[in-house]
């Protein structure tokens, strides 16, 4: 197997032209994903996580527009010709979706859908494709693979469908897996199984993984690094340990405070006041300003840039030191 590849995203912006003016769903996002690493992309609904993921492999449809740089294997995915991009998609970079109920074609057998990927990205013949499909079903833990390949998606449960989806995504040994809330539609025990499966496959295949989720529990259990998104921008990033241990952005701090803590004294959960701003009407200055208890006039005047505050640790907050110091208030 080839050595893993890194994904480098620089200044990625995705804008949608609407009748009410341009809406920037993703605004100048930069991050790297290294082989064998799981990056968690965290944020509320509408913070631009999924759009970021789709922008990476050109799944944004007009009137959406993507700018910036997505460097993969020495080429910019945003400017490669469509044929080359298709070889990358599904072959080198695979994606799994939130809704295993709808992401599979209802009228084709799952075996055929696995083989479709192999047909598109490998030179295997019919028999080899079938053997590989059985191997993949075994890999993702679908019992009785031979018989199950003949089944249609409606004959599988939600968790099993997500396994099928993963099997299809992994068919051509991708180097990077983009997972768009892969467990949101599943119940908790299945969720755990699927995440464990993704992690073990990461170890086995040395893939990088970008995991989009709004579930901090999932992040804590699976990710190596986190990037927290708010209103289309990354507001804080760092290793899972650093961020859970000492959030430096008021938003991250609020997110963590809203999660129940095992072992902690039982108290009321803290919610972040207010709602995220509409992307078409962002406040001036810091987008989180109006909901932030640390905000002052400086926050309303300028938008804080994402700044390096340690190795691999970035935050976009003028008061990150105050935020870090106030840690004890809710823990």
């Amino acid at each position: 197997m080839k050595a893993g590849l890194s994904l480098e995203v620089k200044n990625l912006s995705t804008t949608f032209e609407t009748p009410l003016g341009a809406v920037t769903a993703v605004d100048g996002v930069s991050f790297d994903v290294h082989p064998g690493e799981v990056l968690g992309l965290v944020g509320e609904s509408g913070s631009g996580k999924s759009v970021t993921l789709r922008s990476l492999i050109g799944l944004i449809h007009p009137p959406g527009k993507v700018t910036g740089q997505v460097t993969w294997n020495g080429q910019d995915l945003l400017s490669v010709p469509p044929g080359r991009l298709r070889r990358v998609r599904g072959g080198e970079i695979a994606m799994i979706f939130q809704e295993p109920m709808t992401a599979l074609n209802p009228v084709l057998t799952v075996g055929l859908q696995v083989e479709e990927n192999l047909r598109a990205h490998t030179a295997l013949d019919r028999g080899q494709r079938r053997a590989r499909a059985i191997e993949l079903f075994d890999l993702v833990g679908i019992p009785d693979a031979k018989r199950r390949l003949e089944n249609y998606p409606h004959q599988f449960s939600g968790g099993m469908r997500q396994r099928v989806m993963i099997a299809i995504a992994l068919a051509s040994n991708p180097k990077l897996l983009l997972a768009d809330e892969p467990t949101t539609a599943l119940d908790v025990t299945i969720q755990d199984q699927i995440l464990k499966l993704i992690l073990s496959l990461r170890d086995e295949l040395q893939m990088g993984v970008v995991l989009v989720t709004h579930d901090l529990g999932v992040v804590a259990g699976t990710c190596d690094r986190i990037a927290v998104m708010y209103a289309g921008r990354i507001v804080e990033s760092g290793s899972v340990l650093e961020i859970f241990d000492g959030p430096r952005h008021a938003y991250t701090r609020g997110l963590l405070a809203s999660v129940p803590q095992a072992g902690a004294e039982r108290g009321p959960l803290l919610a972040i006041e207010g709602t995220p701003p509409a992307l078409s009407a962002l406040p001036t200055g810091c987008a989180f300003g109006p909901r932030c208890s640390f905000a002052n006039d400086a926050c309303r005047a300028t938008r804080p840039e994402l700044a390096e505050i340690g190795p691999g640790r970035q935050v976009a907050c003028l008061h990150h030191e105050t935020v870090a110091a106030s840690k004890g208030q809710f823990a």
Partner: protein, 283 residues
Amino acid sequence: MTFALSLRGQRRKTRARRIPVSLIVGGAMLAIQLLLAVFPSVFAPYAPDSFDYNALMQPPSLAHLFGTDNFGRDVLSRVIHAYSVDMQIAFFATVLPFLFGTSIGAVIGYTGGLAETIFGRLVDAIITFPFLVLVIAIVAVLGPGLNNMYIAVGVVDWVFYARLAVAEVKVQKRLDYAEAGRAMGYSPARIVFRHLMPNIITPLIVYWMTDMALAILLGSSLGYLGLGAQPPIAEWGVQIADAKNFMGTAWWMSVFPGVAIVVAGLSFSLTGDGVAEKMRTRR
């Protein structure tokens, strides 16, 4: 309550497995007519064009169940022999529009943009004219006869399949599985024909069935007007045209071919309905 609910679920399950009545009846009727179309001489008591000047315009009798026409030809035999012509019309006039219209419509629906706009204008232009008038105009230019009729129908008819396919694909291409196909790096052609097509084909097949009924009507209309099948070929429209001067004195000459048209149209429609119902329950 729970009991009633579970009972209902039970019944739905059995219904899903059952073949709809309309499909059984329509299919059986079609099968019989296809048999007549393939082996007309086995079933017809006389040759379709054997004149018998001793039995002109005889009313239905045991010797001639449907009577005879003004040349003494057996109406029953002519109705039976007409099956091979009219069933051919039903199939050949519609199969190319079905295949071509469905494919092109699926591609246009998937591409969208300029292609769709141009296609929309084309549809507007074509459906402005009544279908029959347009076909008659084209046949008039090309000259009468079955082949020219197929061409005339084909030129217009594909648009209706394409329009349906465009609408279906526009819905399907936005669904997650199509997006997943794109994320998997499949080519647009592969997504359209391999992944979307099985999901859109049901309404198109149903429309095709209905269209075959319409084609029989159209074929006999053109035959009646002298633009389709040419006499002395036995064809229902031609037969009715021959009979129109004797409507008052020899009703059997026109009524039996007319009934054949109705029955043929009905069996296609029933089959179409049955297929639609069957496909619906399978989902």
